[in-house]
Subunit: 210 residues, 2 copies
DNA sequence: GGAGTTTTTAACTGCATGGTTCACAATACG
DNA sequence: CGTATTGTGAACCATGCAGTTAAAAACTCC
């Protein structure tokens, strides 16, 4: 973050760039990608049309910036939940519950930009970004599992990769149900159950069908 | 199935209604809902524009018909997989694997109309239909679990409702990964793992099969 | 073969939208 | 105080789109 100390010469902007992006997020979140018109963005972001094009570029570019900011914020919160000093089971439950909470925020659109909106955007760059985001999420959970093995919370033969993917699959299922209107309380309970499902010790071998 | 024996009076249609609907499914599947124009449907379905309006109605109506047909077909295949005469574990695995296969079919769009396209449609009727479809899927799995208890495949205290929801959540996760391009083989393996995750006996649970 | 009925082909209309342009307003610098 | 520079507001234009209409075509019934 390098701050530019030289003051801009001309008329100062009447909007805050980050704030406008935040509002753009809400617009895309509530209307999808194709459903959003430039006028929607102009109205929602509080930025005039020419300024919008000058500062942010066209719709696709705006969406990419929104996606990146959204994913970064979500990733940060996920990291915080996963790697807070607490038992593995609580980390996992917090991870999933946080997903649920952000997907059921009132006053904001339901669901998740990354899960519900972005996959439909027919754009190579968006798809690539999503793939890496998904892989990154699973990798994060897997790392937490490894820490859990070190801490003795789970046995050393715990199938970290498989379980990590299953956690993210379950998270996506929760998010989609949120989008369809399942109440938050139900989903929070399901999040706990999901954490337990993945972690509860098995009888016999941890990996089935060895 | 009532066959209409009276021949139609005027000029015969140059297209098959069911076939056209099938093609419409592909169009929506590959382009989403908002991304589809009437011209896309005209081109994709092989039906003239006025005929399209006369026979199928507008885009929203067409999409609803497509959804119902798609859900019916998918439900039928799911029933077949779940309730075929085989052990519970195989039923579940087949159920999930079938989902994966239909979501990774070549020559067709990836993912699932119900999971990847329909949730984004901002329409009360569509959302309602989706909710009932989701609930119906979970109920189907739950019923299969009950049968499994009767057959002694799982203990009587098996939490059928919770596990059924988890199965559908996992299925949605698989489907979304399919949409993002995860190869079929990976997902098929993950489907098996998911079935095992849900079914493997927990330590501390009573098992009937001695 | 002709009349009546239905589908198809092609063109048309009106409206929303994306992207651009232009004159004007606001601020920094000399 | 004037000028250069940048942002803003409103109007503008071409395009694409949904939905309709008019006439030609294909078929059944008489």
């Amino acid at each position: 973050m390098v701050h530019n100390t030289t003051k801009p010469r001309g008329r100062p902007r009447s909007f805050d760039e980050a704030e406008a992006l935040e509002k753009a997020t809400q617009v895309f979140w509530s209307k999808g990608y194709d459903g959003v018109t430039i006028d929607d963005l102009v109205a929602g972001m509080g930025v005039g049309r020419p300024s919008l094009y000058a500062v942010f570029g066209d719709k696709r570019t705006i969406f990419l910036r929104v996606l990146r900011a959204y994913a970064a914020a979500k990733g940060a919160r996920a990291t915080q939940a996963l790697f807070a000093p607490q038992p593995l089971r609580d980390s996992l439950a917090d991870f999933l519950k946080h997903d649920v909470e952000s997907a059921t925020q009132k006053g904001s659109a339901r669901g998740c930009l990354l899960v519900c909106v972005a996959p439909l955007v027919n754009d190579a760059e968006v798809q690539g970004f999503l793939q890496s985001a998904v892989a990154g999420g699973a990798a994060m959970v897997e790392r937490r599992f490894r820490d859990g093995i070190s801490a003795g919370d789970i046995p050393p033969d715990f199938p970290v990769a498989v379980r990590a993917i299953q956690v993210t699959d379950l998270a996506r299922g929760l998010t989609m149900r949120a989008q369809l209107g399942t109440p938050r309380e139900t989903l929070l309970k399901d999040a706990e159950e999901a954490a337990d499902l993945v972690l509860l010790p098995r009888r016999g071998n941890a990996t089935p069908e060895g």
